[in-house]
Assembly symmetry: C2
Homo-oligomer: 322 residues x 2
């Protein structure tokens, strides 16, 4: 078995190829050809920490993936990253562990951001160029960069609870993307007023984006609610939305934004569409004035796609060296 | 993070200490002081394979454990072990993976056999010396050896579907234990007729031990039913048993022998006792003629106990070397 460190892993990543592979994984999932285990959650309240484990096998692939991801939010005070973990690549023919990709959360960060790109692409109004990003963590930066780079957005507005952290995000994005206009919004309402696409990336436990603030035609991608108790959108938004897309029916109705809206009665199960189905149909059939929502909780098929891709490249490189 | 191979792991094992630690883990679990995630099952029918993932955190321990265990039953034809996997030791303070114990299933085999020893000790009639073992795999050998070594049994009878495989087990046990009388039973009934304790270790999917064959006073430990669809005991045995002990209420009622007996109505939930509770009470309060059953599905607290023990010893050795 091979232990692969973060640097070696990142050297194998081709962003465009990974994007295509994750898209295909969502399609495989929608066709019912992926084995996805229920997510395991562990909680470490004393250390403000959590761990989740996601496992998937795509189609008849030669490997399956078991991912362990931790978020310990006191780590920053210790000078450590709050995200950690690894992806284990295991043979689906013999059950032998083949590789531990010790990505320290980097592959999860990337596959999460790439799902954001996909979710924006399938649902945004044609010609959208202004992106509003809510939150100031790693996903705030990654989503903004990847959405601009992959989909040609030319303007980014950022809002978060801490103005200092927002400034830091704005500086980082400006440094990374000289051709994109990046600015700070003073309020969520101000951000909503100019954004054609809104991506929420916080760990909030109460609604940040309120229904009245959202303009007709807005496409919202909410990706913060990855475990029970989290919330970024006011449930009333769901009753205004023409389309609600979920990355996983099980997960979104259990702990996503959708779960909150189901509880308040602002959405019914029958109105949910799976992201992979939308991809199979070539995108959302939306009108100009529609409000559309994609609820992303993060599905193990994304992990399986990106881990398999890294593992295949490592194997190829090994063969070439021998 | 450290990658530890099977040899290094086995060098850290002290059987008696591990037995005490696993007992204590069952007590911790019974006191409600362990975090145990639901077991994740993945199936690979084309390769006759399965994978399960078990996670636990004991009390306020500095680490928690995530175990991946695979069983691919066509591997033997390829000259490979059917069992594989690893245990990941993760910091409960920072979420950082600390070690991957690449035990290839050896720690699972050991903790499973040690639970068998515990299950026999808490429930067998005082003075029992004859053990009947059903099955011819690794657990058949390990349970027989550990129960004799730890509890002083002096006679072992083995039965399995394949007489050749039984002969091999008998030869192996004779070679390992010169002071124990080891023999082959021609039928399950013959085994039941002379055994004071019966341990079942097969992957059977239908009842092997039938109710009429079991004598009063017999203590039965069933450990084969570790995933849905498996069965070793006739459910009617449960209605004859004075005590039914389970290693986990959730798991045993979901996929253990107990699940089968619940379905047939031969047992009710209210008659089940947790193994850890029996340990807290110092053993089963049984009469001479009682038939007693322990249903073992394998609980993540056992993995957490044995992995933590190995990890602590490795850390200690490291400190001594520096």
């Amino acid at each position: 078995m091979r232990l692969v460190n973060k640097q070696e892993i990142l050297a194998q990543i081709d962003e465009c190829a990974a994007l295509a592979e994750i898209e295909e994984a969502f399609r495989t999932f929608a066709r019912g050809e992926a084995q996805v285990a229920p997510v395991t959650h562990l909680a470490f309240p004393k250390a403000d920490g959590e761990c989740h484990i996601k496992c998937a096998h795509l189609g008849d692939d030669e490997v399956f993936t078991v991912k362990l991801a931790t978020g310990f939010y006191g780590n920053q005070e210790l000078g450590l990253s709050s995200s950690n973990g690894f992806m284990a690549v295991v043979s689906a023919a013999t059950g032998m562990p083949l590789a531990i990709l010790l990505d320290e959360g980097a592959l999860t960060d990337l596959r999460t951001a790439l799902a954001g790109v996909i979710a924006v692409r399938v649902g945004a109004r044609r010609g959208s160029t202004t992106l509003g990003v809510i939150g100031t963590g790693i996903q705030s930066r990654l989503q903004a960069m990847l959405i601009c780079r992959q989909l040609g957005f030319s303007r980014v507005v950022v809002w978060g609870r801490s103005p200092d952290k927002v400034s830091a995000v704005v500086e980082d994005l400006k440094a990374e993307m000289s051709d994109v206009s990046v600015s700070q919004a003073d309020t969520v309402e101000a951000l909503c007023a100019i954004s054609e696409v809104i991506v929420t990336t916080t760990a909030s436990r109460e609604a940040i984006v309120k229904s009245p603030a959202v303009r007709p035609g807005t496409h919202i991608v909410a990706m913060g609610a990855d475990s029970p108790g989290k919330q970024e959108l006011e449930p009333a938004l769901f009753s205004k939305a023409s389309h609600v897309v979920v990355d996983s029916l099980d997960q979104c109705t259990e702990h996503g934004e959708t779960a909150n809206a189901l509880k308040t009665g602002d959405i019914s199960r029958s109105r949910l569409t799976l992201l992979g189905e939308v991809l199979l149909e070539g995108g959302l059939d939306r009108a100009e004035e529609d409000i559309t929502i994609v609820d992303l909780t993060g599905v193990a098929v994304q992990d399986a796609a990106i881990a398999r891709s890294v593992w295949r490249k490592l194997k190829q490189a090994e063969l070439q060296n021998h």
